[in-house]
Each structure stands twice: as structure tokens, then as C-alpha cells.
């Protein structure tokens, strides 16, 4: 028995095929979802992949947020379905307010593509249970609008509730407040992060590390054991 993981394609999404591959490598069934369809095809979880949906014009994620598929994703996420937003997907999640805060242009104003070390701060979410709290992983980072901001109260609350899931190590790559690389909602089913686990699942490709596979094996265990 395995589980079905939906991967949404917006116009301008780039990492949808890569995310499907990562889902497959972890032993799950990837299900392509199209931005114009409200129907989530009975998936058990959804990934919003990276890219430049609608060109990231206006603001990253701002236009995609209003697509039909997101109506369903928002509704189901509120009902507890696991949702992972990677990079552009994270931006969409903040624009929909499923996750607090906002993403802004990197403080150095450049696109940055590099291998990024992270600390997994919370291993209790639907997407991180295969890691250990405090574990350090290294996966690719690639974005131009990756600076996470929120007001102090929100940040304090996130910290207090253990909702900072990933923190940047070895230098903050974009000026994100409190080195935040990823966060979760209060229920722990919705997770967003800027770096790309789906690009670190095969030893031969990209960075040559497989540190990102844990996201997908985590959700496999959660869904199949549930």
C-alpha cells in the first residue's frame, strides 16, 4: 500500500516534474494537479513545488494564490491534509495566509543558487518525522525572493510554539529574520521552506547528497501508517 501525493502545476511552475520524481523515488504515487482544476483527485497530501508561478510578477505567489486548485488546497489544509510548499510553494502558502509572514527580495538583491546547510528544528511535523530535531542537512537553495519577514510578535509566537522548522546555518543567505528557512502551521500539517529537498534525492545528481529524501519518506510513513 502506498499513498498519493498531489503535485500542483501552476503556469510557470518549474520543479513539478522533479518533485514528482522525488515522490516516486520515496515510494509514493505522484499525482499531477493542474491549477485550473479544483479537483484534488483524492490525494492524501499535496506539494506546491518551486518555480516562478505567473512569472512571480506582482509578488512571488501572489497570483497563484487565487487559482481554483488553491481553493481546494486551502480548504483541505485547514482540515488537516499535509501540504508542503517548497520555495515558490512556500511563497504561495504565505500569500494564502496558511502560513504567517511574507517573502521579500533577498537582501543582496541577487538570485542565489548554492548548497545550503540547515538545522531541522522541529522533527514532529508531517514532513520532517524522518529527521531528528537538531539534525543538520544540506540541500540546494535557489531563489531571489527568499527573505522571510514577519512582525516581532509573530516571530516570537513561532519560536514559542516550536513552529520554526528549519534554520539556515553557515551564514544567512538572504536576510531572513531569525535565520528562518522554513515554518509550519500550528497543527504541523502545513510546512513551507525555501530550500529544495526534491533536488537532493539522488546520489549522482545535483549536490550528490540525498539529504532531501527524508521529507518524502516522512510523509510516506505518516500516510501509510495512518
Amino acid at each position: 500500500m502506498t499513498a498519493r501525493v498531489g503535485v500542483v502545476t501552476f503556469p510557470g511552475t518549474l520543479d513539478d516534474r522533479d518533485t514528482q520524481r522525488a515522490v516516486r523515488i520515496a515510494g509514493l504515487d505522484p499525482v499531477p494537479l493542474w491549477h485550473r482544476d479544483k479537483d484534488l483527485k483524492q490525494v492524501d497530501a499535496v506539494v506546491l513545488p518551486g518555480g516562478f508561478s505567473y512569472g512571480d510578477y506582482l509578488r512571488a505567489g501572489a497570483i497563484s494564490r487565487f487559482s481554483p486548485v488553491m481553493e481546494s488546497v486551502i480548504e483541505q489544509a485547514r482540515g488537516g491534509m499535509p501540504v508542503l510548499g517548497i520555495c515558490n510553494g512556500f511563497q504561495v502558502l504565505t500569500e494564502t495566509h496558511l502560513l504567517p509572514g511574507a517573502m521579500l527580495r533577498n537582501n543582496h538583491l541577487h538570485f542565489i543558487c548554492r548548497e545550503q546547510r540547515l538545522r531541522v528544528e522541529n522533527a514532529a511535523t508531517a514532513w520532517t518525522s524522518d529527521y531528528e530535531a537538531g539534525q543538520e542537512i544540506s540541500i540546494p537553495l535557489k531563489n531571489i525572493d527568499g527573505r522571510y519577514v514577519a512582525d516581532e510578535r509573530t516571530l516570537d509566537k513561532l519560536e514559542a510554539e516550536g513552529r520554526v522548522v528549519f534554520r539556515y546555518l553557515d551564514g544567512n543567505p538572504n536576510g531572513s529574520l531569525r535565520d528562518i528557512a522554513g515554518i509550519t502551521n500550528a497543527a504541523g500539517n502545513v510546512v513551507g521552506l525555501m530550500p529544495h529537498p526534491e533536488h537532493a534525492v539522488e546520489p549522482l545528481i545535483g549536490t550528490g547528497r540525498t539529504d532531501g529524501l527524508g521529507f518524502f519518506t516522512s510523509i510516506l510513513k505518516k500516510l501509510v501508517n495512518a
Partner: protein, 749 residues
Amino acid sequence: MSLDTVKHANETPDIDQPWAELGLKQDEYERIRAILGRRPTGAELAMYSVMWSEHCSYKSSKVHLRQFGEKAPENDALLVGIGENAGVVDVGQGYAVTFKVESHNHPSYIEPYQGAATGIGGIVRDILAMGARPVAVMDPLRFGAADHPDTKRVLPGVVAGIGGYGNCLGLPNIGGEVVFDSCYQGNPLVNALCIGVMKHEDIHLAKASGAGNKVILYGARTGGDGIGGVSVLASETFDSTGPAKRPAVQVGDPFQEKLLIECTLEIFREDLVDGIQDLGGAGLSCATSELASAGSGGMRVELDTVPLRDSSLSPEEILMSESQERMCAVVEPGKVDRFMEICEKWDVIATVIGEVTDGERLEIFWHGEQIVDVPPRTVAHEGPVYERPYARPDWQDALQADDAAKLARPATAEELRAQVLKVIASPNQASKSWITDQYDRFVQGNTVLAQPEDSGMVRIDEDTNLGVAVATDGNGRYAKLDPYAGAQLALAESYRNVAASGARPLAISNCLNFGSPEDPAVMWQFAEATRGLADGCLELGTPVTGGNVSLYNQTGETAIHPTPVVAVLGVIDDVDRRTPIAFSEPGHLLYLLGDTKEELGGSAWSQVIHEHLGGLPPAVDLGREKLLAEILIAASRDGMVDAAHDLSDGGLIQALAESCLRGGNGARIVVPDGMDAFVLLFSESAGRAVVAVPRSEELRFGDMCGARGLPAIRIGVVDGEEIDVQGQFTLPLAELREAHEATIPALLA
């Protein structure tokens, strides 16, 4: 102004026409009149002028480019050769790869961000038009002096534009070049390369056949930007005052292009098109005339059906507009509905603008009135051809006589050490990661190798691990000293880079960047370089699949160094066998392959230490390059080497520094008996590489080199945290890294 119809042109033969303003010469204008048997209409004049521009017609370069076909080596791998949007190469397992390099030099000087961005956009559409999914891009770049204030304007804009467009398309950037030289001040070179993959049966060609088939324009609306832009801009010199009328630069929309890619690939999957052509330079003029010219029959176009962004555009402007992100397809009537559905799915505007006819003319109508009636071949393929005069410049002998051998060399070991650091920290030799970190190299999840490796490598089949590798190279300093040898050295270096990473070189593409063809000295450089390249390709067995020529790269009387950029494509059956440059294991033995001679002409050392350019470039021995490549490929396939790095500008020390830094390991180097340490470290003799061999493979590897007659000297071992050239100096990796990595950010950040 009233509409200038064919009828009107017949009635008013003597009207003055602005042919000169449109860049035509008197005799060219006369020729158009002779072809048509009347004066051209305004729309016809517009079409001929852009299509007969240097950029689109290759009128100065054609006679030389012919050699690429005439001297083409026998090669079963070539599926589509020169003349199409891009050449196509068989890489096995039913896969075909198409790749091409193109220039966007002039627009990138005027508007660095958009100029470079639309350069990427244009080459990607060429690849897409062949039927392939674009899978990677590369960007060979040349800028003025690193510390010149204008470089601070041009370079960041160009890099942001390439990244902004390529990243948004989801194309990994897997390599390129960044070279600084004051000769490119005012004439930066922005070349862009794209690689695409398809199955053999998916190859598409740019031709319109089958009377009654529909001509569909799809993608962005046509606007007034860049009217005659690229074609005119790239076809004349502009000095500091600029051309009288600066044509607008186009603004690209990578999001639109991404939709165009996905939409087009879906259309290909359902086999809905007969012929297809991208819109690039010369816009609709080019697409319609080329499609009609290459096909059988004629074409009829209703120009007023073209979706416009600006309703006030005249038909001439619509024909000349270089608005980006547009494609033109020829579709059977029964498939039009499905074609339109797919376009709608991807939010791409598509319009039937005409159809293929059983006539022989390209006929264009505007609100029912005929404004163009031409034989399409005369527009697209039978433009003017010039035999431009060329002559070896009188300064060439003096330049070559100014031998680099006479330059003062380091007198002591400390001086040698200081020069090593200085060269490695110089802008051309320094790490380019400040630039390349602005490019996504991971997207698509198939990148096996990317910069700073010797070549970029992508997997093209997940099940079999089949992959392709591409490298681009070009050394304008060598080509200035000797354009024939310089072009061959560019070819040799690129070939060597592909082989060093374990792939078998198959075919090449090239971008020939030169000054004004109206200068006989420049024309001589061009003739020599093309001859060198064609001869070289014949000898190496790698056919030219296509390319691009960029002329008029000069300011006033001063041309850039002749800069032929060569891209070599290779194939590797199992990407798991690729060879990286990193020295990753202490204890591995270092071998220097090839012969090291005292060759310093045009070298990085002569430039950095003495600001000198003179003498002869390194000698070319293509037989040796072939042998070296065979050894490198065999060693990779059979697991005999752990790392390999080709030797080029900067010589051995540059390669050692890069491989050590990449692997995080030092090296102990012993200067072989009878060899001068300075020459060993800085000579730029061609046909060389350094490899790291596990001890367990030493015998096998040594035997292979010995048996095949490739000189292989053991020069040391991977070890420690410094480069220790014994008896000379030691350089801690930390110090080396600081020198190598700090330069570019300090200049640009």
C-alpha cells in the same frame, strides 16, 4: 500615409524610398527592383532590408562558412546539419540532441539586463523549434576591463538578465565563460547556448508544405518594440555617439516563454505541426519567408489578423517587429482545433494568420489589399553575398615577433609564489562563483556536472543513465596572435574539456565574434579563423552543426580581438562514470598528461604579470588532442581516474589550484628532472590534462598511456592542506582560496 500596395507600387515606379535608412546599399535596392520587376512596396522593402541585413543574411561571412559543409568530416551522428534553426546529433538509444550558440552582443551593451535576457529567450526558441525539450543553457561572456566603471554597469545587468530569464524558464545553467579584456570595452560579448533533447522521430523542420495548411502565429502579441532591432543593431558599428536612431531594445517575458515551451511540447507530443519556426531577428519577415522558402508552394498571410499590443502599428512595423516569445507553426486544417485547445490550456494566444498555397509566392494582405508579393527564396535564402576583400594586417608580423619568451621571469622561489597568487587572483583566473551562483544549476533534476567543472553534463535518460556534456571555449588573445591557430585552440580546448569529464566529443556549434567586415584586416581574421575551425573539425571528426556570426563588434576603428567561441557536444553512456575535477582523495597520484613546452605567448601569465600580448599562441596538435581524449574517456569508463582537469589558460598551476580547492585537498608536486618550475607551472601548451589516479589503478593507467604513446609524468600526490611545489614554495589552501574567491566580489558586489 496611405497604404503602399503592390498595385500602388506598380503605378508609382519613381517614388523615393528610404532604402538607405533601412540599411540597404544602392546595388541591393536595385537588385530588389530587378527581382520584383518593379519598385518594392513599403512592406516588401521592410522585409528585404531586415532579411538582407548582415545579421540575418550572413552576406559577409557566407563564403567562408561554406567550408564547414565542404570540409565536414564523415559522421553518422549528424541528423540535421547547418541551415536549420539548429543542428541535431544522434546520441544513441533513440535520442537526438540539438544545441546551438548565438550572440546577443549589441543589445546587451545598450540594455544589459534585457539584452542578455532576450538572448537566452531567442536561443531557447531555436532549440524548441527543432522539436526538442530545452534541457540546459550556457553563457560564454566577454566584458571590458574588470575594473572599468562601465563593466560595473554591464556585467551585473547581463548576469541578472541571463539568470532572470533562464532561471524563470527552469533551465539549468551548466557552464559558460567570463573573460575580461579591455578590447571588449564598449563591445561586450554575450553569447548564449541552449541544449535540447528529443527522440529521433520528434525532429521538426522550418518549412511550410501542403497547400491549404494553416499558418498559425502563437505566443506573445506583436508590439512596437525592437522594430528592426537585432538585425539593424547587429549589422553596423556604433561609436560612442551611437547610431542616429537607436532602435528600441525588446523586453523579454520569460513567463510567457515558459508557457510557450510547455505548450509547444504538448503540441509536438500530439503530432500537430508540419513545420515550425521561432520568431527571432526580423520577426515575421523572417518566419514567413523562411517557412515558405524552405517548403514547397507559396504562402498567403493576412497581416491584419496578427494580434497586436499596439493597434497603431503599420504593416511594415508588424513585419519588422522583433517582439519576443512568438512562434509560427504550419498545421493541417484538421488539426487546428486541437492545436488551439492546447494553446488555450496554456493561456497562449494563437491565431491563424494565413495558409500555404500551391503558388510560388509569399503574398501578404492588409485588410484585403495586397502589400507583399515576392518569391520567398529571394528574401530568405538568396540574399546578397559579398566577397569582402581581406588582407593580413601589416601589424601581424610585429605582433608575432614580440615574443613572450623574452619577458622577465621570476628570479626566486618567493617571486614565483607571488606570481602564482597574483595570476590566480586575477579577474580572468579568479573564481566566477559570484556570477554563476546567480544561475540555477539544479532545476530539472538531471544536472550531473555544472560550473566550475570542465564541462556541463546532464542526464537525459533516468533508466539508462545516458548523458550529454557540453563545453564552450574561446581565447581571443590566442586568436589575435594567430586567428587560424586561435580557432583551432578554441576547438581543441572545448573538445578536451568534454573528454576530461568522460564524454565522447561528437559535434560542435560556434559563435564567431569579430569586428567590422568592412575592414580587410578583420575580414582576414575571420577568413583565417573559419578556415582553422573547418580544418580542425575535419581532423577531429566533429562536424559543425550550426552557429552564429556576430560582426561589427568594434568601436570606431578598434575591433575586439577575433573571438571564435566553440561549443563541443559529447555523449556519455553512463553518467555514473563521469570524471569531476575535484581532488577528493588524499593519496591519489597526480599525472601530467601531454608535453609541456615553453609556450607563453598569449598566456595568462604574460597578461597578468606583464600586460603583454605578443608572440605565437601554443602550438596546435590535433592528433595529440584526439589521443589525449581517447585516454581520458577510456580512463573514465574503466574507473582508472578519480579526477581530471584540462590545462588551458593559467597552465598547470591554475588547474591544480582549482582541483585542490574543489576537493578540499592539497597536493605535493615534484618538479620533474630537467624541467623548469616556472615553465611547468605557467606554460600553456595545448593537449594536456592533469589526472588523479588511485594507487590501485596506477599500473593499469600507466600501461595504457605507455602503450598508446601518450606522455604521462607523475608529478605528485594529493595530500595535505596546501599546494607544496617541492623545493619552491608552499601555498596553504586557505590563502589560495582567499586569493581565488575574493577578486570578483570585490570588483562587483
